[in-house]
Structure formats: structure tokens, C-alpha cells
């Protein structure tokens, strides 16, 4: 059950489980062929935790993140995010979950090209029918883009775009942030800066972070590491 105020459920409990996946699987059909992107995945993420998903390309990391981000539903098993069962939730429940509880950061940034930095950051609030100019501006300052607030994504560097995406993912104070290879399109120095920013912000906001990455250094800083191969967890 979602609370309209957006306040965290049981916010005082550090050990509250915000993400629980048990035996989840996801298949894709390509013509006659069935591709088992995720065979069987089980993981948990507690409030405020940083968990890393590592594995080679095509192992199912993005599929897993999409399930946690409530943009996809599992074919098998269960995925519960902030107490909501993704497999059985209604469309409206999933939309509300994405608006209020989940933030997403993509490898390809995925900013809306015809909105400015400020507008992109404010977009999740706008979709929820809310306005909070102070928070938006505060986030812009925190990600170091005050001088670029009125610019469009095409006018920003990769790092600036990803910083915008990070601010957007946190503007609505989500419980869970899902980041799919956020540094994949950035050079190592910029990538490190973005990860540092992402981690700092989510800590201050009290959000859990599930991060897919190839970067061993990033993975090493995680509270938990889940290694995937061929759609399954490996030891």
C-alpha cells in the first residue's frame, strides 16, 4: 500500500528490506526463439544499502534492474519492491511506485532532449502533479550544474548529462535507486566522479542503490555484490 505523502514506510528501521527477489525469471520471445534473459534470481536489498550486480554483457543485469525498477514484470518467481509485488500489481500501482519510490539512472542517460536540465530534473515531480522549485534548484547545485540549468542535453558533456540524470533520479526522494551501468558511456575519471556523486546523494537521501556495473572498484565499495552469469547468480 502506497502512502500519498511519499513518506517512507518504517523509515526509522535501517534493516528494512526494500527489494526482495525470490526465484525471479524473465523470458523474451524473438520470433520462434525463446531467450531466457533471467533464469532464476534471488536477492535482497535493505534500506540505505548499496548492492552491485556484476557480470558479463548479456548475463541479465539490465533485465534484473528493469524488474526492480517496475518497468517490467517477471515471468516466474516474485519481485517485491517497497512491499509491492511487481508481478501482480496493477498498472496504476506500478506507475505510482515508479513516481514515488524508485529512481532510475541509465547508461545512455535518457534525458528528454527538448527539456532543459532544470526541466528534466523536475520531470518526476511534474508527472506526479507536484512542484518543488527549491528542491530542484538545490539538487542542481549539489550536482554542480547551476551554470547549466537552462541548457539542453545536447549542449552538455556526457558527465553533465549523467549528473542531470542522477539529480532526476533523486528529486522525488525515492526509496530505491536503480542504476544500469551509469558510467558505461563515460571515461574513467568522469565515471568515478558520477559514482561518487550518486553514492553521496543517495546516502544523504537515505535511498538504497542497486547498481549494475563492470567496474570492479565500484563493485568493491558495495555492501553486497551479486554476480550474474547466463541469467543466474553465481558464487
Amino acid at each position: 500500500m502506497m502512502e500519498d505523502s511519499g513518506a517512507a514506510v518504517g523509515s526509522g528501521s535501517v534493516m528494512e528490506t526494500v527489494v526482495e527477489i525470490v526465484g525471479a525469471g524473465r523470458d523474451f520471445h524473438r520470433g520462434q526463439e525463446v531467450v531466457r534473459a533471467l533464469v532464476e534470481l534471488s536477492l535482497t536489498l535493505d534500506a540505505g544499502e548499496l548492492a552491485a550486480l556484476i557480470g558479463p554483457s548479456g548475463c541479465g543485469k539490465s533485465t534484473a534492474l528493469n524488474l526492480v525498477a517496475a518497468v517490467d514484470r517477471p515471468d516466474r518467481g516474485s519481485v517485491r519492491v517497497c512491499g509491492i509485488d511487481i508481478a501482480t500489481a496493477t498498472e496504476d500501482e506500478l506507475v505510482t511506485l515508479r513516481r514515488r519510490r524508485i529512481g532510475m539512472v541509465f547508461q545512455a542517460f535518457h534525458l528528454v532532449p527538448h527539456l532543459t536540465v532544470e526541466e528534466n530534473i523536475a520531470l518526476p515531480l511534474a508527472l506526479d502533479g507536484r512542484r518543488d522549485s527549491e528542491r530542484v534548484r538545490a539538487l542542481i547545485d549539489r550536482v554542480g550544474l547551476a551554470h547549466r540549468a537552462g541548457h539542453y542535453p545536447s549542449e552538455l558533456s556526457g558527465g553533465e548529462q549523467q549528473r542531470t540524470a542522477v539529480a532526476r533520479a533523486l528529486v522525488h526522494q525515492p526509496r530505491v535507486v536503480v542504476a544500469d551501468e551509469p558510467t558505461g558511456n563515460l571515461d574513467s575519471r568522469t565515471g568515478a566522479a558520477v559514482i561518487e556523486l550518486l553514492d553521496e546523494l543517495r546516502r544523504s537521501e537515505g535511498a538504497a542503490l542497486l547498481l549494475a556495473t563492470h567496474d570492479a572498484k565500484v563493485a568493491a565499495a558495495a555492501d553486497r555484490i551479486y554476480a550474474l552469469a547466463d541469467g543466474r547468480l553465481v558464487d
Binding site: 506507475v95 513516481r99 532510475m104 541509465f106 535518457h110 528528454v112 532532449p113 527538448h114 527539456l115 511534474a126
Partner: protein
């Protein structure tokens, strides 16, 4: 291989886009073809048939109102050099057909050498009937149509008098002009008697014998003729009628051509969207070595395909549509040149080729910008996501400058005089104004987004804000759709302005000018077009019944005045001076006619005054058969029943030059004590069995006049409906493309919390904003074009000064309808957007 990858496979997978564009092109071409085909058929016996009916005659001798058949004797010395063929001709109502036919009286013994139809094996099986009786030759198609055979009798109404003729023989019309299906041929002598032209001919045709030079023959004939007779090639008659009809036909075709403009925008939009959708494939092919030329050739092939398929369908639909339009066009034509029987619509290969050429030319012209775009697509390595396309300051200033220049051009052209009586500069100015909508729509959308940005952002919910931003960003594509919708609404508003102005003017004109209690006219054909004139005896019957002081017969004859056809008319000034008739601006009608009666002066209509720069007080000189008539002009009256010049004198003056003429119609001004319905019954009792006429009371007459105008505008009303359909299709196509282009963005919005409803609302809002922008701009330009049509085009084309009446409620209704329709057109792409699976799209798009 490139063709298969870029065109054929995508076409097979998604054929709807190609089909929609083809339908749009076909609609535009059909509008043009049907207008031309209908207007040609409506005047077939004049425009195309004159030469064929004339046969091999190289020269004609004519005179307004006919020439005495004694002229043949004057030309006897030429018989060694030429055949002299006497001809009488008139339009009569064939009762079995319910429509007018051309009755041609010729010397059947001589004419087989002149006219092709009489060269059959045995065209005159019953010589007695055809030479001595009222035997007639009719075409086999006409005979089949009315179900008659040789030996059967037919009834024709001549001057309102029913006469019987016999079908003597049938002739084949294969390979001949369609006009022959509406021609009845008789020997000249019985035809003269039937048509009331005993002792008179309409023309004498000269067919030079072998070896005779036509110019020499003309010179010798001229020496033998009196100065009131004209000798010229048969084409001169066609020129006369075509002059009278030129403005009407030109305006009809020009209006239909605007629908082509919208079709062209639709093609450009479709081709541009196909470029967008194939951008990745194109860049991949470029990476692998495909040249720009080869890629561009694909776009040209697609444009050609659209043009050819759309053209073929459009031509076919055009000929079918012409059948529907024919009645309306004939009615309009009849207001200009009376008594022209139409032929049926026949397939004309030349017109079909023209329609196809127009479709292909439009498609290729529309492919220029998409071609430019596809040739600029870089190889894969250089391919970037398309950045937002908001207008840079420089581009905005350039667009604004272009619009200002176009506005100046519009004003300059609108103030220019007509060229050969055709409002070419004025119609060009209307076209430039429409083109300005296409040029300015991008600026408009950009401005809308900029201006609306702040208030939209303050609204709860992101749909409007996202919609405005998306429109601005997709400005180039959306501008074309907005432009085509704006053109459609501008055309609709312009035509509505013209129609409402016309209607208000004509209503006012009928209120002030139609004062007769009864109005007698010849029987109309089933199409409502009058055929023929009244027999002079009918005037006598009416005078005997109601008194000469109540009867106003109206006579007219087409004459040449300063090289142009005008009507010379006679009316009973002694009658109308007590009742008034047509309205004279600022003056009492009865007083003007009283002055004309006392001073033996003339009154002229506005078209005459405008064309020949004549004002009250001027004296005009008319060259008429048998002499010259000079009259002072004492009044200029408003006349919306004809578009060519009219000079009216007292009937005594008219009948002095055309003594055998029957009136076109007759007005009765009854004393107050006589009820019009009773009077009508008495009149019909008097003519029953002898004449076939109609008698309308004042109310019926006004209704008939207004009905005529409604029918006149029916064809133009149909055109703007067609254009509106094409414009909506353009909106649908563009929005589907914009949604396709923005899949990643839309999926992102879904992923970060956007609901399906919000995406649906966003795309529908985009369509609505596009509709609002288009409706606003289109309405403004439509008002301007409407003013040009009312105040300039009509004046230059027809000499009519109209009161300008802007139909505000209609315009508001149209604007609202456009916005709603655009939003409805936005639903399919909105549903596509709402159904996007964010996970799938984001995975595909990287």
C-alpha cells in the same frame, strides 16, 4: 538491393503510410480533374464542339440576331470557289430527355460533304420526312438513352411551344466529340419553321473547293457583304463563349488547385517521415559505401510511385466525381451563357494525362526537402541523436522577414488589375498568402512553445508542458502538418466569407430588386437549367389577360462591344418606371427607369460599367444589325444574375433591331386587387395545350435565385471538405512519425513515473496545440483571402461588387472543429505512445 532495403520491404511491412499519402494525392488530383471535366462537359457544344459541328467549314458569315437568307443570293458568285451551307441553330428542350439539345438545321443534300456524321452509308433513308416534314437525325447513343427508333416521334419545346418531330434516321457518333450526343440535325427549311426563323439564318458556312485559298475567299466574300455581317473562322464563335466563361472556369480550376497544394504538403510530410524512420538504415548503407545519389534515388522512386498510383486513382475518381459536379457546374455556367446543352462526361485521354502529370509533378516537387534531408544523413559513425530543433534567433528573424515580404507581395498583387479579365494577380496573392502559412507555421509553433512554456509549466501535470516542448522540438515536422491544416482552414474561411458575402448581397438584391408578382420563363430542364426563350405570342396573351401596363418582357441578344461579348437587352421601361426593378445604388429604381423612358436612354449593369469604364452620363455606341444605336447611360445597376456586361434599352429600341426575337422571360406587375395565384391559374388556362412555360410568384422567384447561388457554391464547398480531409491525414502522419522518433524519450517518461494516460494526454495535447496554432493562423489568413476573393477577385472576374460579411459563428465553429479533429487524429499515435513497453524500448534504443 538498396531499393529493397529502403523502400520495398518497409512498404510491405507498413503499407498504410503509403496508402494514406496516395489517397491524399488522389483526392487533390480528383478535385482538379473533376472540375475541369465538369466545366468542359457543361460547355461542350461551345468550347470543344464548335469545330466539330462546323465540320470542314473554314469560314462563317454571321450577324447578331441572325442574317437574312437572301444573303445566299448575294454570295452566288462564289459558288465556283466554295460550297455555301446555310445553317440555323438553337437550343430546344427535348421533352423525352428532360434536357436541352442543339437543333441544327442544315442543307442535308449539301452537308454530307461538310459534317462527318452525315457521311454514313445511308443517313437519309426517309428523304420525304427529312426534307419535306419535320424529320430529324439523332445520334444512336441519344436514341438508346431515350429509347426511340427511326419512325418514332419526339416532342421539343421551342419558345415554350411544344412541337413534334420525327426520328428519320440515326447516325453513329463513334470517334466524335461527345457534343454530337446532344445534337439533332434537320434540313434547314423545316428547322427555320420550327425555330421561328423563317427568312433568317444563324450563319452561312463557306467550304472552299480544292485549290481555293481561304484568305482570298474571305477577301472576296467581304467585298460582297454589308458591313453588319461578319466573316471569320468557326473558332471565333468559340472565342466569344469562352470569353464569357473564362473567368468562371479559371476561378473554379484555381480553387481546386489549392487542394493540390495541400496534397503536396502531405506528400512532403510522408516522404520526410519515411526519411526519419529509415535514418538508421540509410546511415548504415552509407557506412558500407552507398552513395548519396543512390540513396536519393530511392526517395525519388517513392515520390514517383506515390505520384503515379495517386494520379491514376485521382484521375479515375475525378471523372466519377465530375458526374456529381456536372449539375452544379452547368447551373453556374447557365448563369453566364444560357442555353448550352451539356454532354455527358466522357473519358478524355488528354485530361487524364494532365491529371497524371500534375500528380507526378506535385509528388516530385514535394520530394525536394526530404531529398535534401536524406542526402545529408551521415554514415553510422557520425549519426547522432537528433537534437531539439528549436529555432535559433537568426532563423526566427529570417522567417519573420520572409513573412513580412510575403505580406507585402500579397498586398501588391491584390491591388493589381486583372490580366485579360482574369484575376490572375489577385488569385496569386491568395496563393502567396496560403504559402505564407506553410512558411510561417514553424515560427508559429516555436512561438507557441516559447510563449506557452511558462504558463504550461505552472499547470499541475506535465502533459501540456511536454506537449508544447515536443511540438517546438519537432517543429520542422510538425510545421508541415500545422501548415497543411492551416491552409485547409484558411481555404474554408475564405470560401465561407465569399459565400456569406454573396448570400447577404444577393438576399439584399432580391429584396430590393425583385418586385414582380409573377415571372414567366421557359420550361427548365430536369437539371433546373432554362432552355430557350418564350414565343412572342405569350406576351400578347399576358397583355390581353392583365393589361399591357402590367407586362414587362425582357429580351436579350449577345453582341460584340469593343471586342467583347455583352448582352444587349430590351425591357418595358413604360412598365417598370411605375414599379421599379433592379436596384441602382443610392437611387430609386422607378425614378431611373422613368428617366430612361423619357430620355430614351439606357441603363447598364455593374459588370459592363466596370469592364468598359462607363459611368452615368456617358454615351455608348452599339453596332447592331442594320445600324448604330447611341444612348446615354442614366443608371448603373447591381446585377448578380450574369457576369458579363448588359445594356438595357426600352423594348421598342431593341425590337427595332431584332424584330423577331422572343423574350427570355416576362415579369408581371399585377394590380393589387388581383391575387397572384389566381392570376397564375388564369395564365396557365390561357396557354394550356399551346405552350410549355413556368410561372413563379415572387416568393418562389427569390427562392429560385437563392437556390441557384447555393448550387453555384456547392462545388466550392465540396472542395474545402476534401482539403480538410487531406490536412487531417497530414496531421495523423506527422504525429505518428513524431511518436516514432521519440520512442526513447516516451519510454523514459514511462520509466520515471509517467502513466499511459499521461502519455496519451501528451500526444493528444500536442495534436490539439497543433490544431490551435493552425486554426488561429489559418483563420487570420482565411479572412484576408476572403476579403481578396470578395473585394477583388469577384469584381475583376465578374464585375460584381459585394458587401463583405464575415461569418464569425461559422469561423468559430470551423476553428473548434479543426482543433477537435486534430485531437482525434492524435488518438492513434497517442495510443501507440501509451502502449510502449518501456523496458523493451529502452533496451532497443540503448
Amino acid at each position: 538491393m538498396i531499393l529493397r532495403a529502403l523502400l520495398l520491404r518497409p512498404l510491405l511491412r507498413r503499407p498504410w503510410r503509403f496508402l494514406i499519402t496516395v489517397i491524399g494525392v488522389a483526392t487533390g488530383v480528383a478535385a482538379v480533374v473533376s472540375t475541369i471535366a465538369a466545366s468542359r462537359a457543361a460547355v461542350a457544344s461551345f468550347a470543344e464542339g464548335v469545330d466539330e459541328v462546323a465540320g470542314v467549314a473554314r469560314l462563317e458569315i454571321t450577324r447578331s440576331g441572325g442574317l437574312p437568307d437572301a444573303t445566299l443570293a448575294t454570295l452566288r458568285s462564289l459558288t465556283s470557289e466554295a460550297l455555301l451551307i446555310p445553317v440555323v441553330e438553337d437550343t430546344v428542350l427535348l421533352m423525352e430527355l428532360g434536357d436541352g439539345v442543339r437543333l441544327l438545321g442544315v442543307d442535308l443534300l449539301l452537308d454530307a460533304q461538310v459534317r462527318p456524321v452525315l457521311s454514313g452509308d445511308d443517313p437519309l433513308p426517309d428523304l420525304d420526312a427529312t426534307l419535306l416534314g419535320f424529320g430529324a437525325l439523332i445520334s444512336r447513343p441519344l436514341a438508346t438513352e431515350i429509347g426511340v427508333e427511326p419512325g418514332d416521334e419526339l416532342t421539343v419545346s421551342v419558345g415554350g411551344r411544344p412541337r413534334t418531330i420525327e426520328v428519320a434516321a440515326l447516325f453513329e457518333a463513334d470517334g466524335l466529340s461527345a457534343v454530337w450526343e446532344r445534337v439533332v440535325v434537320m434540313d434547314v427549311a423545316p428547322a427555320q419553321e420550327l425555330l421561328g426563323k423563317v427568312g433568317r439564318l444563324d450563319r452561312i458556312e463557306l467550304v472552299p473547293r480544292d485549290g481555293v485559298d481561304v484568305e482570298d475567299l474571305q477577301t472576296r466574300a467581304t467585298e460582297l457583304l454589308t458591313s453588319d455581317l461578319t466573316i471569320a473562322a468557326p473558332g471565333e464563335r468559340r472565342r466569344f463563349a469562352e470569353q464569357m466563361l473564362a473567368s468562371l472556369r479559371f476561378n473554379l480550376v484555381a480553387l481546386s488547385a489549392i487542394s493540390l497544394l495541400v496534397a503536396g504538403v502531405l506528400i512532403a510530410t510522408t516522404l520526410a517521415t519515411s526519411v526519419v524512420q529509415r535514418r538508421f538504415v540509410v546511415s548504415l548503407l552509407r557506412s558500407m559505401g552507398a552513395s548519396r545519389r543512390k540513396i536519393a534515388a530511392v526517395v525519388l522512386v517513392e515520390a514517383l510511385g506515390i505520384g503515379v498510383v495517386g494520379g491514376v486513382i485521382g484521375v479515375a475518381a475525378g471523372f466519377l466525381g465530375a458526374r456529381l459536379a456536372l449539375a452544379s457546374v452547368r447551373f453556374t455556367v447557365a448563369s453566364v451563357v444560357r442555353g448550352i446543352p451539356a454532354s455527358e462526361i466522357r473519358f478524355d485521354p488528354q485530361l487524364a494525362a494532365l491529371g497524371l502529370a500534375i500528380a507526378i509533378a506535385t509528388a516530385l516537387a514535394a520530394s525536394i526537402l526530404p531529398l535534401k534531408e536524406i542526402m545529408a544523413v551521415p554514415p553510422l559513425q557520425g549519426l547522432r541523436t537528433t537534437p531539439p530543433q528549436r529555432m535559433a534567433r537568426g532563423s526566427r528573424l529570417m522567417a519573420l522577414a520572409a513573412l513580412l515580404i510575403m505580406a507585402v507581395v500579397v498586398v501588391i498583387l491584390a491591388r493589381m488589375p486583372a490580366i485579360r479579365d482574369l484575376p490572375i494577380p489577385a488569385l496569386t496573392s491568395a496563393l502567396v498568402a496560403m504559402a505564407g502559412l506553410l512558411v510561417g507555421s514553424g515560427l508559429l509553433l516555436d512561438s507557441l512553445a516559447r510563449i506557452g512554456h511558462v504558463p504550461f509549466a505552472r499547470m499541475r501535470g506535465a502533459a501540456l508542458q511536454l506537449a508544447a516542448a515536443a511540438l517546438s522540438a519537432g517543429r520542422q515536422r510538425a510545421a508541415w502538418a500545422a501548415g497543411s491544416v492551416a491552409v485547409a482552414i484558411a481555404l474554408a474561411v475564405a470560401i465561407a466569407t465569399m459565400v456569406s458575402s454573396f448570400r447577404a448581397t444577393v438576399e439584399s438584391w432580391t429584396d430590393s430588386g425583385m418586385r414582380a408578382d409573377l415571372w414567366v420563363r421557359p420550361l427548365a430542364a430536369d437539371t433546373g437549367v432554362w432552355v430557350g426563350r418564350l414565343d412572342p405570342e405569350i406576351v400578347g396573351i399576358a397583355e390581353d389577360l392583365f393589361g399591357a401596363e402590367t407586362v414587362d418582357p425582357f429580351y436579350s441578344q449577345t453582341i460584340d462591344y469593343r471586342g467583347r461579348p455583352v448582352s444587349f437587352a430590351g425591357a418595358a421601361f413604360d412598365v417598370v418606371r411605375f414599379h421599379g426593378s433592379v436596384p441602382f445604388p443610392g437611387r430609386d429604381s422607378a425614378e431611373v427607369f422613368d428617366l430612361a423612358w423619357r430620355e430614351r436612354a439606357a441603363v447598364v449593369n455593374e459588370p459592363f460599367a466596370t469592364r468598359f469604364d462607363v459611368v452615368e452620363g456617358d454615351t455608348i455606341r452599339l453596332d447592331l444589325p442594320g445600324g448604330v444605336l447611341e444612348r446615354e447611360v442614366v443608371g448603373v445597376f447591381r446585377d448578380y444574375s450574369r457576369s458579363h456586361g448588359l445594356v438595357v434599352v426600352d423594348r421598342s429600341d431593341f425590337l427595332g433591331f431584332f424584330p423577331d426575337a422572343g423574350p427570355d422571360d416576362m415579369a408581371l406587375f399585377l394590380p393589387p386587387e388581383i391575387d397572384p395565384d389566381v392570376a397564375r391559374e388564369r395564365f396557365f388556362d390561357a396557354v394550356r395545350g399551346r405552350f410549355l412555360v413556368e410561372a413563379l410568384d415572387n416568393r418562389e422567384l427569390r427562392a429560385a435565385v437563392l437556390s441557384a447561388f447555393e448550387r453555384t457554391f456547392a462545388i466550392t464547398t465540396a472542395m474545402y471538405l476534401v482539403t480538410a480531409v487531406v490536412a487531417v491525414v497530414a496531421v495523423l502522419t506527422v504525429l505518428l512519425t513524431l511518436v516514432g522518433e521519440r520512442r526513447r524519450e516516451l519510454a523514459t517518461v514511462r520509466a520515471i513515473g509517467g502513466s499511459r494516460r499521461q502519455l496519451l494526454a501528451m500526444v493528444v495535447a500536442e495534436a490539439g496545440l497543433l490544431g490551435i496554432a493552425a486554426a488561429s493562423a489559418g483563420t487570420l489568413v482565411g479572412i484576408a483571402v476572403g476579403i481578396i476573393l470578395v473585394k477583388v477577385v469577384n469584381l475583376q472576374s465578374f464585375g460584381w461588387s459585394l458587401e463583405l460579411v464575415l461569418p464569425w459563428s461559422s469561423m468559430a465553429g470551423m476553428a473548434a472543429w479543426v482543433v477537435v479533429t486534430c485531437m482525434i487524429a492524435g488518438l492513434p499515435p497517442a495510443l501507440v505512445a501509451a502502449r510502449l513497453q518501456p523496458a523493451t524500448v529502452l533496451r532497443e534504443e540503448g
